[in-house]
C-alpha cells in the first residue's frame, strides 16, 4: 500500500509539478475506512460577530449622539463632551477597531447606488444616515465627540494655534475634493480610499503598515498644534456635515442669553469657527453689488467647466488605480511588474482564470468610460465648490454678536466656558 502511494506520488508530481490544479469534485485518494474505529473530527468554522451586536453598535451610536447633543445644547458643558469623546475613542475606536464608521459608510452607500451586485447592510446605512439627521437637528454634535477620529484628535489638541483665515478657506476645499474622489473610486467599484488612507485606524487596531503609522503619527503630532487637522482639511464626511449643518434646526450658541460683545470668546475657538461681529458698513451701491453677482454667476459655470475639463484629462490616471485596468494595460504593453524574470501573479491568475483578452478589454473599456464621466463630474463639483467659496467670501452679512459658524463649528463647546453671561442673569 505504502509503495503504491509512493509510485502514484511520483507520477503525479511529474505531471503536476509547479502547476496548481483546480479543485476536483472527485478525490484522487479515496476517503479511508478506519478499521479501529477512529472517528473523523469535524472541521470547525468559527462564526462571525453576532448580528445582534452590530445593531447594538447602532443603539450605542444613537444613545451617544443624543447624550452629547444634550450635553452641548442643554448642559453646555465642555467636561461632559470631553468624557463622551473618551468613551467614543474607547468604544468606536479601540473596541470596535474603527470599523464600522460613518466616514467610510459614504463608500458603501455610493457602491450600493452604482453597483447592482452590492447590497448594503442596514447597519452601515444607519451609521451613514443617523449622524446626518442629528446634524440637521443639532449641528455637528457627531464631530464633537462621537466620531472616534474626531474625538481622538480633540483629545490630543492641547496647544491649538490659530490659522490664517485665507489658509483655512483654501485648505477647506480639500475635504470636498477628497469626498469627490472617494465617491468616484467607490462608484466605479475600484477602491475604498477613505478606509485605505484612514490615518487613525492603525492606532485603534494597534496594527498597521509603517507608512500608515507614520501618517497617523504625523496627524496626531500636528494635531497638538493645529486643532483637528484631519477633520478640517480632509474628512469627506465632515464636508457633508458642513453643508447639512448650515441648515441645522437648533445649533449650539456661544452665549446662553444675549451676547454682550465682551470679546472673551474671540480666541476660544481652536477651529477658527467663530463669526466675528460685522458692523454696519457703508452701504454698497446697488450697481456694484449687481455687477459683482453677474460676474460671479458667469464665473461659476466657467469654474465648473474648467474643473471638469482638467479632471477629465486625468481620467486615465484615475482609471489606472483600478486593478482590472492596470492588468489590461500590462498585458497589452507586455510590461510586467513582477520581480525579476518571474511573471506577475496577476497575469498568471488571469491566464488561469480562462477569461479571454477580449472580455477583459470590454470590461476595461466600460470602466474607463465610467471614469471619464466620473472625472468630469468630480472636476465640475470641485469647480462649483471653489466658485461658491469665492461667492461666500464676498458676502458680508450684518450681525452684531459673536456666533458659531454653523458650517465649520465642531460643537466642541470650548467657547462656552469663556462666556461670562450666565443663563437667566440678563
Amino acid at each position: 500500500m505504502k509503495k503504491s502511494i509512493y509510485i502514484l506520488f511520483f507520477i503525479l508530481s511529474a505531471i503536476f509539478a509547479f502547476q496548481s490544479f483546480p479543485v476536483n469534485a472527485e478525490n484522487r485518494f479515496p476517503k479511508p475506512e478506519f478499521e479501529q474505529g477512529h472517528i473523523q473530527p469535524e472541521t470547525i468554522t468559527p462564526s462571525p460577530r453576532l448580528l445582534l451586536l452590530e445593531y447594538l453598535d447602532v443603539a450605542v451610536l444613537i444613545t451617544a449622539l443624543s447624550l452629547i447633543s444634550y450635553f452641548i445644547l442643554k448642559k453646555r458643558s465642555r467636561k461632559l463632551v470631553f468624557w463622551t469623546s473618551v468613551f467614543s475613542v474607547l468604544y468606536f475606536g479601540f473596541y470596535r477597531e474603527g470599523c464600522v464608521c460613518s466616514i467610510g459608510a459614504i463608500q458603501n452607500v455610493t457602491l450600493a447606488l452604482f453597483k447592482d451586485d452590492y447590497h448594503i447592510p442596514l447597519t452601515a446605512f444607519l451609521f451613514f444616515i443617523i449622524p446626518l439627521i442629528y446634524t440637521l437637528l443639532f449641528g455637528r454634535t457627531f464631530c464633537a465627540g462621537i466620531c472616534p477620529l474626531g474625538a481622538l484628535q480633540d483629545i490630543v489638541g492641547l496647544k491649538p494655534m490659530p490659522i490664517e483665515a485665507w489658509l483655512e478657506k483654501v485648505l477647506g476645499i480639500f475635504p470636498f475634493i477628497y469626498l469627490g474622489l472617494a465617491v468616484l473610486f467607490a462608484a466605479t467599484g475600484t477602491d475604498f480610499v477613505i478606509c485605505r488612507y484612514d490615518p487613525f485606524v492603525g492606532f485603534f487596531r494597534l496594527d498597521a503598515s509603517f507608512t500608515m503609522f507614520m501618517i497617523g503619527g504625523l496627524f496626531l503630532i500636528a494635531g497638538v498644534f493645529i486643532a483637528r487637522p484631519y477633520c478640517r482639511f480632509l474628512c469627506p464626511y465632515g464636508a457633508l456635515l458642513n453643508i447639512i449643518s448650515r441648515f441645522s434646526f437648533k445649533h449650539m450658541t456661544i452665549t446662553p442669553e444675549t451676547c454682550i460683545n465682551c470679546r472673551l470668546c474671540e480666541n476660544a475657538c481652536p477651529y477658527g469657527a467663530i463669526n466675528m461681529p460685522v458692523q454696519l458698513k457703508e452701504k454698497e451701491k446697488t450697481e456694484t453689488v449687481v455687477r459683482r453677482y453677474i460676474l460671479l454667476s458667469i464665473m461659476v459655470p466657467i469654474f465648473i467647466f474648467t474643473g471638469g475639463f482638467l479632471a477629465s484629462n486625468f481620467s486615465s490616471g484615475f482609471a489606472h488605480v483600478n486593478p482590472k485596468v492596470k492588468l489590461a494595460k500590462e498585458l497589452k504593453n507586455n510590461t510586467n511588474y513582477g520581480m525579476g524574470e518571474k511573471e506577475a501573479l496577476e497575469i498568471t491568475a488571469f491566464r488561469s482564470s480562462g477569461q479571454s483578452m477580449d472580455e477583459l478589454n470590454l470590461e476595461v473599456a466600460k470602466i474607463e468610460k465610467e471614469f471619464y464621466l466620473g472625472s468630469w463630474i468630480l472636476g465640475g463639483f470641485t469647480g462649483l465648490v471653489f466658485g461658491l467659496m469665492l461667492i461666500s467670501l464676498t458676502v458680508f452679512k450684518y450681525h452684531p454678536d459673536y456666533s458659531p459658524n454653523k458650517a465649520t463649528c465642531h460643537s466642541c463647546a470650548r467657547c462656552m466656558e469663556f462666556c461670562p453671561v450666565k443663563p437667566g442673569v440678563l
Binding site: F21, H38, T43, P46, P48, Q107, L113, F192, P323, F350
Partner: protein, 163 residues
Amino acid sequence: MAGGLLPKLVGQEYVWQIDTKKCTHCGRCATSCIKTPSAVKCFHAFDMCGYCDLCGGYFRQGVKNLNTGAENQLCPTAAITRQFIEEPFFEYHIQKDLCIGCAKCVKGCEAFGNGSLQLQVDQSICDNCNECSIARDCPSNAISRVPSGKSYLMQGINWKNET
C-alpha cells in the same frame, strides 16, 4: 437617491471570504491582511482528506524520510501536526495560532492530494474591514463579500450555521 437605495438595503451583515475555486495560492493572504498574523488560515476539510502517509501538504517535495523532522516539513511555522491513526493513515491538524495563511500547504495538497487543505478567512479573527485589504491585492479576485449566515466557501464541510 433614497429610491435607489431602498431596494439595496439588507438586514444581514456581510463578511469577507475566499472562494477556494478561484484561489491561486499566491501567498499574498499572509502579507496583505491588516492583521499580523493574517486572519486567513488554512482550514482542513477532514471529509475530503485521504489521510495519506505521503502528504503533499505536510512534506516538502522530494523528501527522503516521512517523519516529523523539521527539515521535512513544508509549513514554515510547523503549524501542521501529523498524527498516526492506523496503518497507513495519518491525520493532519492545523494549529490556528501558528498558521500564517501562506498557502504553501494548500498548494501542495491541491497539486498532489485531494485539496482538503483550503484557505479561508477565520471569521473569529477577521476584523471585517469595510474593504478587505487582501481582496484588493488578490490577483484572482477570489475574495468577496458573503452573507454572514453562510460565511465559509470551502468545500467538504457540513453546514451547521446555515440559515
